[in-house]
């Protein structure tokens, strides 16, 4: 039961233009499709699942359809075709009322440009979701204060959004989403409007929150390092299509095509790849009494141990020897 996916998306299409159904299933390129039908397929046949408690990152450049994709998930944009199973129920079949219930209680979204209400103070902004689902005033303020404390904004309850810095405004946006205690949090490039230092701070904040509240998250970004840092798994999109899906080290270690390879070429591989990626089988006669390390240890963190050991390091999982690593592999990786 635990492993039933929170979100299961199957064959999702979103086509903009006249009579969009026609374009579903097309294999034409973007240009050809535009010329023949006048339609633009923003999302093309994307399928993926999100497991409970996972941070699932959708990454792509602007125009790749990632923002459309995340909006399809809560039907802020109506999908053209496909299934979106949320805890086993198809969101696409939900009627107006059911959809509203889902949005009020189970899904919450954080936006790139915050979308705060400028005429309400921070507390009222955070309580907004609770207010529209009809919670009593005392109750919603209590909850809003709790969440504000969680995101570190205690003391700013009565400030107004435009008195806050961008980072703090986004904390309000985050608090507003957390306040309704959703099962799934959606982030639409939440930090791309922030400057780099604040962005890093907010990323750490998300990691911390994820550890504390354990929410399932779908996180949209165009920033590869953000994707690698936050994502348990990463889905890379281009022109509306899924290019590759996998963990950070899979994406970096085994790019699906030149597009992804190009993308990840600047990533310091030793920071992402694990020992699993460089270990080799033990050669005959090699001493096998060196230190033990886990195959999922990031190379960067293994450097010291491997280089200081005078014999091959054994990569062991559950007592079974998977392979060995020596300074040669480490140096080759770093030098590349």
């Amino acid at each position: 039961m635990r492993d039933q996916p929170v979100l299961d998306v199957r064959g999702l299409w979103k086509v903009f233009g006249p009579r969009p159904e026609r374009a579903v299933g097309t294999t034409l390129s973007r240009q050809e499709l535009k010329e023949t039908t006048g339609c633009v397929a923003a999302v093309r046949d994307v399928s993926f699942t999100v497991r409970p408690g996972e941070v699932f990152v959708v990454m792509g450049l602007s125009g790749s359809g990632k923002s459309t994709l995340v909006r399809c998930l809560t039907r802020l944009v109506e999908p053209t075709s496909g299934e979106i199973l949320f805890d086993g129920d198809d969101i696409r079949r939900a009627d107006e009322r059911r959809l509203r219930e889902l949005r009020r209680h189970r899904l919450a979204m954080v936006f790139q440009h915050f979308g705060l209400l400028p005429h309400r103070c921070v507390l009222d902004n955070v309580a907004f979701g609770l207010e529209i689902r009809g919670s009593a005033r005392a109750e919603r303020y209590k909850r809003a204060r709790e969440v504000l404390e969680l995101v570190g904004l205690t003391g700013f309850e009565n400030s107004y959004p435009d008195q806050l810095s961008g980072g703090m405004q986004q904390r309000v946006g985050l608090a507003r989403a957390l306040a309704v205690d959703p099962d799934l949090l959606l982030f639409d490039e939440p930090f791309s409007a922030l400057d780099p230092l604040i962005r890093r701070e907010m990323q750490n904040e998300v990691i911390r929150l994820h550890r504390e509240v354990g929410k399932t998250m779908v996180f949209i970004t165009h920033d590869l390092s953000e994707a690698l840092k936050l994502g348990d798994r990463i889905l890379i999109m281009r022109d509306g299509e899924l290019v590759q899906m996998g963990t950070a080290d899979e994406v970096v270690g085994a790019p699906a095509d030149d597009y992804v390879r190009d993308f990840v070429s600047d990533v310091p591989r030793s920071h992402v790849l694990t020992l699993r990626w460089i270990m080799r089988d033990a050669m005959e006669g090699e001493p096998l009494d060196g230190p033990e390390l886990d195959p999922d240890l990031v190379i960067r963190d293994a450097v010291r141990v491997v280089l200081s050991a005078d014999r091959p390091v054994r990569v062991v999982r559950d007592g079974a020897l998977l392979g060995v690593v020596t300074s040669a592999e480490i140096l080759e990786m770093i030098a590349r």
């Binding site: 802020l76 509203r100 009020r104 979308g115 705060l116 005429h119 907004f128 979701g129 529209i132």
Partner: protein, 659 residues
């Protein structure tokens, strides 16, 4: 391909227009005075007599025809009673008392309390000063009549306009439907619908209220719709993602965010209503407008100035008060309530308490009810204005006469002679040809139908005289508009200094302009033209300035770095790139000038304006007045369509060339 053919055709078209004009001038020289279709001031055509009879029929059946009995008369009753009720409160003797319920002290206190609570202490003081000055000028009752009419019309306008505006903001379909209707309401010259309204609602407060509403509702609807529309989609999306219903997102997101802009709409509505409420004096609306009108008709500059001053003061007070209210909304939005709810409650109680006490005094005691007569300085103002006007007319005669003669002999007479002195068929042919050349086939058809309609209305020559004056005034407006617009568009300092002047010019009721200009130039055609220019120039200037400012800074920088002189930058970069705005300014200038035609009729412009004014006052001329009003509308539609078609054409050219 296309670009080549179009650029090749462009000079050809220009030569063709020149050829048409030359043929016209030649024809005029040979055939001047023939077939000009003149109609004397008291002469009527069968159409006009028919209109008179139809009007009489309506009058006879006003209380028996079910349409009037169960519909029109009810509206009239409700509106009349609404205005009378407000008048009973503040301006007219009522409920068996020799004075209104609230005397001057009560009104002043109440106005101050309201402006203080919605605005700030400064506008409250301004309001007190303004209202007291109505009394000092000796125009308390008239001012309160104007205020009563304005406020009633504003209340109805907002009650209708804001919900419709919200609807138009939410629904694209309704917006598409309502926009052309509003366009039409706003391009129709204001005086024109007064006469038809009296046909249905008789002269008096009801017609005046409806006329005012027709003029004041469009800004309310437009600005509300705009405010609702401009709410950031991101914020709306955030609301939707939290599961807000349509009603919740309207109440919690759209309306609060739109509030400030809607208050701006209220401001515009009030200013439009005040402007029209004074003009409605032509159909016997009570108040300051009537005082100005009477004074204009007897050429009593002093009295007109005195009442005009009161109108200006009222305009300034209403404008400042609503602007302060919108600033307050904005301030609250930005910083939250700066004071606690408790303090606010105390403030409200105290302000209303004082107002209530003073109101009670003004209800009970004569000294607080009737503005003290010994404090009346109106007669001094009148005499001073008379003296100033006489002095100006005497001592500036050299200058003003030169200007008057220059425009009259240099522009007005040639135009008038060309249009009104040529045979009608020559003007007709030349007009249609020019419309075809500048605007295309559809513009030509509009022109042909319109000109034919003018003949049918029996007012050909009057229409041509009015058209000549309109064109001259528009030329002057555009000369002023381009010169001042370029200046304001290029200089921040000029913008800072002149923009408030222009804004003020636009908020002033149209009547008010006439007074000083009449004082300067006396009653002539020229006076009417200058009044129209003063009325229309601010719009044209603003539009041109807007266009100049809209030219991308990088383009200007590029031109400058290539070594252009300021003059070259203006003529080769800024004006060509702003030509859309200039064309729009010409279009709007024409419409505004035309809407002053009737006002011009009051100060000696003659022709259609005079026909309309005479129709208001003389029973046997009202059919003709109706026709003249229609002729003004026809002129307006033709000029609007042709200039718009020309504008669309230049825009298209621009696109093709830029390709």
């Amino acid at each position: 391909m296309t670009a080549l053919t179009v650029t090749a055709r462009l000079p050809a078209r220009r030569y063709l227009i020149g050829a048409v004009l030359a043929a016209w001038v030649l024809g005029h020289a040979l055939l001047s005075g023939r077939d000009t279709l003149p109609l004397g001031g008291a002469e009527l055509t069968p159409l006009h007599e028919g209109a008179n009879e139809a009007w009489d029929t309506v009058d006879d059946n006003r209380n028996s025809n079910p349409f009037f009995l169960y519909f029109v008369n009810y509206i009239r009753l409700v509106l009349d009673e609404s205005v009378r009720f407000v008048q009973a409160l503040i301006s007219q003797p009522s409920f068996g008392r020799p004075v209104p319920l609230l005397g001057w002290l009560g009104v002043v206190a109440l106005a101050a309390a309201i402006t203080y609570l919605f605005g700030n202490i400064r506008v409250a003081l301004l309001t007190v000063a303004g209202f007291v000055s109505f009394g000092l000028l000796g125009l308390w009752a008239e001012s309160m009549d104007t205020l009563a009419l304005t406020l009633t019309a504003v209340a109805y306008s907002l009650a209708v306009g804001i919900p419709l505006g919200v609807w138009a903001g939410l629904s694209d379909r309704f917006n598409r439907f309502v926009t052309p209707v509003l366009d039409f309401m706003q391009t129709m010259p204001t005086f024109v619908y007064l006469a038809p309204l009296t046909l249905f609602f008789l002269i008096g407060p009801a017609s005046a209220t409806i006329a005012t509403m027709i003029y004041a509702i469009p800004p309310a609807i437009r600005i509300t719709a705009h405010a609702i529309r401009e709410v950031s989609p991101v914020t709306l999306e955030a609301g939707a993602s939290l599961g807000a219903t349509a009603a919740q997102s309207l109440r919690h997101v759209r309306l609060p965010l739109a509030r400030r802009t809607i208050v701006v709409g209220v401001n515009q509505t009030i200013m439009a209503a005040l402007s029209m409420a004074t003009i409605a004096a032509l159909i016997d609306a009570p108040g300051l407008g009537k005082t100005v009108l009477k004074a204009l008709q007897t050429l009593d500059i002093g009295a007109a100035f005195n009442a005009g001053l009161a109108i200006v003061i009222m305009a300034v007070v209403l404008d400042r008060a609503t602007t302060a209210a919108s600033r307050r909304v904005e301030a609250q939005r930005r910083t939250g309530r700066e004071i606690s709810a408790f303090f606010r409650r105390v403030e409200v109680t105290v302000a209303l308490g004082i107002a209530a006490v003073l109101s009670y005094l003004s209800y009970t005691y004569v000294w607080a009810a009737v503005f003290p007569a010994e404090a009346n300085i109106g007669s001094y103002v009148r005499r001073a204005a008379d003296a100033a006007s006489a002095w100006v007319q005497d001592s500036l005669a050299g200058f003003t006469d030169a200007l008057k003669n220059l425009v009259t002999y240099g522009l007005l007479n040639p135009f008038e002679s060309l249009l009104a002195g040529s045979p009608w068929w020559l003007v007709f042919a030349a007009g249609v040809a020019i419309a075809a050349l500048v605007g295309g086939v559809r513009a030509a058809i509009t022109a042909a139908v319109g000109l034919a309609a003018l003949i049918g209305l029996g007012l050909w020559q009057d229409s041509m005289v009015t058209l000549a004056a309109t064109l001259v005034a528009t030329l002057l407006v555009m000369a002023l508009g381009v010169a001042a617009g370029v200046w304001i568009g290029r200089s921040d300092r000029a913008d800072a200094v002149l923009r408030p002047v222009l804004d003020a010019g636009q908020t002033m009721p149209a009547f008010v302009y006439l007074v000083p200009i009449l004082g300067l130039f006396g009653p002539t055609r020229f006076t009417a033209i200058i009044a129209a220019v003063v009325f229309a120039a601010p719009v044209a200037i603003k539009l041109v300035a807007e266009g100049i400012r809209g030219v991308p800074a990088t383009t200007v920088e590029a031109a400058r770095s290539a070594g252009s002189s300021p003059w070259q930058v203006i003529t080769k970069v800024q004006l060509p790139m702003a030509r859309g705005a200039v064309a729009l300014a010409a279009n709007q200038g024409l419409i505004y000038v035309l809407s002053m035609v009737v006002v011009g009729g009051l100060v000696g412009a003659g022709a259609l304006g005079y026909d309309v004014v005479a129709g208001f006052s003389q029973h046997q001329l009202r059919g003709k007045g109706l026709a003249a009003g229609l002729a003004i509308v026809v002129l307006g539609i033709v000029l609007d369509r042709v200039t718009r078609a020309a504008q669309a054409r230049t825009d298209r050219l621009g696109v093709i060339k830029e390709d």
